[in-house]
Structure formats: structure tokens, C-alpha cells
């Protein structure tokens, strides 16, 4: 067991009766990273989060969180923070009371727990509402309170299960900033289960995509996009009379070209070979057009984003 690994998972498997929820999960995540945990609904993300947070027992496999093996669930819980999916909140308590309670359950004396609660309420932007009943909180405020709850024990690893679920765009941005601060200011490793692929691309340095209980892609965002071999396209605009020459320029290479009949005048669609990176694609196109002596009016590379990879790998697995 490496001390540098925040998460180490081997052969994790879970079924609910006859339904296989998780086939076999292997994962290693270094400390301080943010892992984007992706998958369509029912892929098994929440199952994984619940297993790793010791709420569920796996049928098979082994894991360690923050260096603590799964044979010591209480010690794991001491080192993790979790925002469960669709978590409920006690309506009759104030945010401060609830956080103080949980801080005490993590072993803090009452006065220290109250201090922790107030500090965290400030961090998540709820300082003014800390002594209001939770029943009066908006959805976004409750999610932020849930984030604060996940930090009461200064966790080494934080699991956030759909933290942006049900939030408006402004709320989503606030939440993602908050998540970023957890990693950068608290120094915690973050496992972020979400559907916001664009934000994962910007925020996460590792990605794991689950589909039907199986890992279909894993690695850095670039690696996943590359391995996913998602089809990508480019649109190049040239002078109208140079369209034919452009098509000829790509006729013998790996890149296929076709004129867009209903597009803007002089637009040519280029289809890249699977697995070609953005840099290589752009360089190849430009080299080809330069050799053919075709001036480029505009060039737009499409595809090759995490969302494309996500669709490619999840559709392929289904």
C-alpha cells in the first residue's frame, strides 16, 4: 500500500440480487487530485461512492482510502468527507446546530465543534444563515451546507456525489468553485461524481467513466479522450473557387474531406482519424492546405472533448 495514494481499489464488485451494479473496479488515485467520476444514470457511481465511504459492503474486492484498508471502516470514515446524493437535512435544526452536531460526532469537543461549524459556514457562504432553520434554506444552500458537513473532520478524501444536482447555472458555478477550493485550500483529494462534463474537463485531473457497472475509460482527461477514439471533425473555410483544390489536397491522406452543400460558401468538412489529438489534427490540416497552396479563411476543430469521449465510450458499452 503506497502512502501517496489517496485511493486504491482492487476488483471491487457489488450486486443487488441478480442485478450487477459494479462488475470490477480497479483504481488508483494520488493524494491531492480531483477525480471526475462519470457515468450515465444507473452506471453504479453512487454504489462506488457508498462502498468507498463504507456505507455499503462490496461483494468482492479490496480497497483502501487514505491508506486505511476497508477492514477498518470506522478509521476510513474518520478520514473522509462525503456529500451523499440527494442527502436529507433535519428541517428543525439550524445549519450551525447540524454542523456542530456532526463535528462532535467526529470527536470534537462542543466548543471546538461550534467554532468549526462557524468557520465552515463562512467558507461555504452561509455565515449569515447559520442560525436559521435548515427548512428555510434553498436547494443550493443545502448543498453548500452538505459540503460544509463533509469538511467538519478535515478529511483527506472527499466524495461528492452529484453536488450540482438540481442547482441553477449560478449555483453550479458557485458549487464548482467551492469544490476547487476544497482541493486547493484544504488540500483534500476529491472524488467528484457529476454530469457536468465541461466542468469536469476544467476541474479534474483524472477521469473515470462507468457504464453499467463497468469501467469504460480511466485516466487523465486527455488520455480518456484519446483512448475513447471519439470521432472528431474540423470545418475549414476557403475561397469558393478553391473548394475543389482543397478536396483534392485531402484525397490521398488519412483525413477525409467533403464540401458542405448547405453550409456557408467555401466550407469543407474534414473528418479526422480516430485517436488523433487536437494538436496533431490542427497541424496536419494546416500542413496539407499549405502544401496545396490554399489560403485558409477560418478553421474550427470540433469534437475531441470529454463529452464526445463520454458519449463514445458509454454508447459503445451499451
Amino acid at each position: 500500500m503506497s502512502g501517496l495514494l489517496a485511493l486504491e481499489v482492487r476488483g471491487l464488485r457489488k450486486s443487488y440480487g441478480d442485478a450487477l451494479a459494479l462488475e470490477s473496479l480497479d483504481l488508483e488515485l494520488g493524494a491531492g487530485h480531483i477525480l471526475g467520476f462519470l457515468g450515465p444514470n444507473g452506471a453504479g457511481k453512487t454504489t462506488v461512492v457508498r462502498i468507498l465511504s463504507t456505507i455499503l459492503r462490496p461483494d468482492a474486492g479490496w480497497f483502501a482510502v487514505a491508506g486505511v484498508p476497508n477492514s477498518r471502516p470506522q478509521d476510513i470514515r474518520r478520514r473522509i468527507g462525503v456529500l451523499p446524493e440527494s442527502a436529507g437535512y433535519p428541517r428543525g435544526q439550524t445549519g450551525e446546530e447540524w454542523l456542530t452536531y456532526h463535528a462532535q460526532l467526529f470527536g470534537r469537543p462542543r466548543s471546538s465543534a461550534r467554532g468549526t461549524a462557524r468557520r465552515l459556514l463562512g467558507e461555504v457562504g452561509l455565515a449569515e444563515r447559520g442560525r436559521s432553520l435548515i427548512s428555510g434554506y434553498s436547494r443550493g444552500m443545502r448543498q453548500r451546507l452538505g459540503i460544509a458537513r463533509s469538511l467538519v473532520n478535515d478529511p483527506e478524501v472527499v466524495f461528492l456525489d452529484e453536488p450540482t444536482l438540481g442547482l441553477d447555472p449560478v449555483g453550479q458555478v458557485q458549487m464548482l468553485r467551492l469544490i476547487s477550493s476544497i482541493a486547493h485550500e484544504h488540500g483534500a483529494t476529491v472524488v467528484l461524481s457529476t454530469h457536468l462534463l465541461g466542468e469536469v474537463e476544467n476541474l479534474c485531473d483524472a477521469v473515470l467513466i462507468l457504464s453499467r457497472g463497468r469501467v469504460v475509460a480511466q485516466g487523465t482527461v486527455t488520455e480518456v479522450v484519446h483512448r475513447a477514439a471519439a470521432p472528431r471533425e474540423a470545418l475549414v473555410q476557403v475561397s469558393t473557387h478553391l473548394v475543389e483544390r482543397t478536396l483534392r489536397a485531402f484525397s490521398s491522406g488519412a483525413i477525409a474531406a467533403e464540401a458542405l452543400a448547405n453550409g456557408a460558401q467555401g466550407e469543407v468538412r474534414l473528418i479526422m482519424p480516430a485517436g488523433m489529438s487536437s494538436d496533431v489534427a490542427a497541424t496536419s490540416v494546416m500542413a496539407c492546405l499549405l502544401n496545396a497552396d490554399v489560403p485558409v479563411l477560418s478553421f474550427r476543430l470540433e469534437g475531441g472533448r470529454l463529452s464526445d469521449a463520454f458519449l463514445a465510450v458509454t454508447e459503445a458499452s451499451s
Binding site: 439550524t94 449569515e128 444563515r129 447559520g130 442560525r131 436559521s132 432553520l133
Partner: protein
């Protein structure tokens, strides 16, 4: 002389026992002499107050020379006031005693525990019969009971308690709610 009388009685008993029941019913009323069984109470009058419990003892004798199997004793209550309704079940939960066999020339005692449920004048009596062999019912003499009414508790005296305690709790509840609401509103 006594032996003769006893022999005569015994003879009469044998005859009575052998006589068909219908004929017996017509001819002879139930009597201790007829069956050899008799029942007496240790008291014939008592006074008490409503709600109090009292007890008395009945003695069942078998004056015959034969064992009397399957003897059953039953306690009953009769009101002497037409306006008072009596449910004997309320007076005693154990009003029937299965005594089994009362040996020849033997006796059995029964302790009755009774609660005075109504006020007024009442008569309690004990009846005897047997499980089989005779249709006779033998009764004891009356135990006359006079029960005085009384107010065990003062309804007026309890009013401060029965009103005050819920009111106090209600005030506590409202106070707690107001205190909490005020605390919450202070920071909003």
C-alpha cells in the same frame, strides 16, 4: 337413640336419592337435610363503606355418611333497593368455587372476598349444588350488608392540580417555542 335417628335419616336419604328427580322436585324443597349438605356464613350482618373490601367465610358441611363429590358453591348479591342495579361480577371476580368432594361428616371452608360497589342495603348468600346426582340447591342464610356512601376524594381539591399541571406544561411548551423563535429571528 341418636343412632336410630341417624339411621332413619340415612334411610330417608337413600330413598330420596333413589326417587326420580321429578317426583323429588314436586315433593320436597331444597334443604340441607335432604342432601346432607349445608352451608353457613360466619357473619349474618355487617356494615361498611362504599369502595371498601370485606370478606366472610362460608362453611360447607356434609352431614351425611356418604362423600359428596362435585360440590359447587356460588356467591350471589341481591339489592333491597329497586333503584339500585347490581352486577355481582363487580362485587367479586371469583364467585364460583368448585369444592370437589366434601367427605362424609366433613366440612370445607370458603373465604369470599367482596368489594362494596354500591351503597345501600344488600343481601349476600351462598348456594350449593353438585355436578351430578341431584338437582337440589342448598342456600345459606342471608348476610345482610349495609353500605354507606362516601366521597373518597375531594373533586374540588384536585382542580388546581388537574388544571394547573397541563397549563404549566403548555406554558413551558409555548415558552420554549417563543424562545427558540426569538433566537432564530435575532440572526436572520
Amino acid at each position: 337413640m341418636r343412632g336410630w335417628i341417624a339411621g332413619l335419616i340415612f334411610l330417608l336419604l337413600v330413598i330420596a336419592a333413589a326417587t326420580p328427580a321429578a317426583a323429588t322436585r314436586d315433593l320436597a324443597p331444597a334443604s340441607s337435610a335432604a342432601s346432607g349438605l349445608s352451608v353457613t356464613n360466619d357473619q349474618n350482618a355487617l356494615s361498611t363503606r362504599i369502595g371498601e373490601r370485606f370478606s366472610f367465610t362460608s362453611t360447607v358441611r356434609n352431614d351425611s355418611r356418604m362423600d359428596r363429590p362435585g360440590v359447587v358453591a356460588h356467591l350471589d348479591v341481591v339489592t333491597l333497593d329497586p333503584d339500585v342495579y347490581v352486577d355481582p361480577e363487580d362485587w367479586s371476580s371469583q364467585r364460583t368455587e368448585f369444592l370437589g368432594t366434601v367427605p362424609a361428616a366433613g366440612l370445607t371452608r370458603i373465604d369470599w372476598k367482596v368489594q362494596a360497589v354500591n351503597s345501600g342495603d344488600f343481601v349476600l348468600f351462598v348456594s350449593l349444588t353438585t355436578l351430578e346426582g341431584t338437582d337440589r340447591v342448598t342456600t345459606s342464610s342471608a348476610l345482610r350488608v349495609t353500605i354507606a356512601s362516601q366521597q373518597t376524594l375531594n373533586a374540588g381539591g384536585i382542580l388546581p392540580l388537574v388544571l394547573g399541571l397541563p397549563a404549566g406544561l403548555l406554558a413551558l411548551m409555548l415558552g420554549a417555542a417563543v424562545h427558540r423563535r426569538r433566537r432564530l429571528h435575532q440572526v436572520r
